[in-house]
Subunit: 87 residues, 2 copies
Amino acid sequence: MGNTQIVGLVAGACTTIAFLPQVIKTWKTKTAKDLSLGMFSFFCFGVLLWLIYGIMMRDIPVIVANLFTLILASTLLYFKLSFKENT
Amino acid sequence: MGNTQIVGLVAGACTTIAFLPQVIKTWKTKTAKDLSLGMFSFFCFGVLLWLIYGIMMRDIPVIVANLFTLILASTLLYFKLSFKENT
C-alpha cells in the first residue's frame, strides 16, 4: 500500500469517525433541534454520489470512507426524523 | 470533462453546500449546543487530510470539494467556540 493510499484511508477514518460523537450525543440527549434537516438530507445524497464516484474511479479510500459515512449519516437522519417532536 | 469527473464535482457540490444551512442556522440561533465539538475538530482534520490526498492523487473533484468544505467546517468550528457561553 502506497503513502497516498494511507493518507486517503486515514482521511476517511477521520471524517467517518467524526460522525460517531454526533450520533452518540443525539442518541443520549434525544434531541436533534440544532441539527439541520436540510444539511443531513443533502449530505446523505452527496455521500452517495461520492460512493458512486469512488467506484467509477476504483479509488479504495473514497469507496470505503463514503460507505461508512453513508451508514452513520443515515443513522443521524433517522434520529432527526424520529425525535421530530422535540424540534 | 468526463462523466466521472462530473459525478465527482456534483458529489462535492452536495457535501459542501450541505454545510451552508448548518452555518446559517448556527449563526441565526447563536447556539451550537447540539453540535459536538469533538465531531467538528476531528472532521476539520479529516477534511484537511482529504485535501492533501486529492493533491497527491491530482484528483480535481476531491481537491475542490475539500477546499470549500474545510472553509465552511472551520467557520462552524469558530461559531461553536465563540458561542461557548450558550453550551
